[in-house]
């Protein structure tokens, strides 16, 4: 009576585990859904153990153990005793492997999101109608958007990626102290500051620059963000 009621349970289990094993075996590992090669391998191992375990249980309940022959008895007994003991360890292994894959995926997703935000910000800055520069603490141009590059004839060194400054000089409105952009690097914010950029050929570009200092983690002056409107040309 008990066998009649209980036996279908283990048969269903056996068929289910075999079906699951086949399905997982034909599924291609895809780390993007948390199914890495490691997780897949561990799941297959567990399912294989469960197939063997439920087959042994079925044979035991259906009194079919004699089919295996007497020579296999000690091996079957050892398998029955130990196979289930390994199962929880493997399950834990799967859980940790999947967890690690999940963490990795979170990092990748976060990096992609960060990259998209960075690209969007760069597009916005480059599309801005105003020229935007970031000057380092010594007045060197660390960053220039497209408008600034166009107005100031800035080019990027193909070897180092650094921005190469042409042979122009800058002077203030009174044409005093012509020099470099370093004169704009100071702690005090400024707005509408007149700057003349003079090329050796005599061409002059007059800008009205605004700037805001930026501080580093140690609260020291790390540089200045300078913006200016597209100028009128003289000369």
């Amino acid at each position: 009576m008990i066998e009649f009621v209980a036996l279908p349970g283990v048969v269903i289990g056996l068929v289910g585990f075999i079906g699951a094993f086949v399905l997982v075996a034909i599924t291609k590992a895809r780390p993007t859904i948390g199914l890495t090669v490691l997780v897949k391998g561990l799941i297959l191992t567990v399912l294989a153990m469960l197939v063997v375990s439920s087959a042994l249980l079925f044979m035991s309940e259906a009194d079919m153990e004699d089919m295996l022959g007497s020579a296999s008895e000690p091996y079957v007994a050892a398998l029955e005793d130990n196979i289930d003991t390994l199962f929880p360890l493997l399950v834990l292994g799967i859980a940790f492997a999947a967890f690690t894959a999940q963490q990795y995926e979170d990092v990748v997703r976060s990096t992609r999101a960060h990259g998209r935000t960075h690209d969007l910000m760069m597009d916005i800055v480059d599309s801005a109608p105003a020229g935007i520069l970031f000057l380092g603490p010594h007045g060197q141009i660390v960053f220039a958007n497209d408008t600034a590059r166009e107005v100031l004839d800035l080019v990027e060194s193909p070897a180092t990626g650094a921005i190469i400054t042409p042979a122009w000089v800058v002077a203030d409105a009174d044409d005093a102290a012509p020099g470099a952009l370093a004169s704009l690097v100071h702690e005090k914010p400024f707005d509408g500051y007149p700057v003349t950029v003079r090329w050796p050929s005599g061409v002059e570009v007059r800008l009205r620059a605004s700037g805001r200092p930026m501080h580093d983690a140690r609260d020291e002056l790390g540089g200045v963000v300078v913006s200016f409107e597209r100028p009128s040309l003289d000369g």
């Binding site: 209980a6 349970g9 289910g16 993007t32 859980a95």
Partner: protein, 93 residues
Amino acid sequence: MDTAEIVRLVMAVAVVFPYAAVTRRIHDVPGKRFLDIAVYAILASYLFNVLEDLLLKDLTVTLLLWSFGVAGVSAFLGALSMWRAARAEGGRP
């Protein structure tokens, strides 16, 4: 109760809580819920296996075999979810 059964019971109990804690953190592994059910059914089968000699033998054996049935069906459904998710992710699985 022999040594193997004691070890089996200890392993089953010792693994439930860390397993539950870890799997709770994994939120988008396909078929996770079905696989969870399968694992818990197998763990239940360990308990029935150990209780077999202590309590109502017929009942515990029946529950033991049916817990394998539940585990098998859940494992299959979990594997099916995994297969479908991998297939939807792109290309043939």
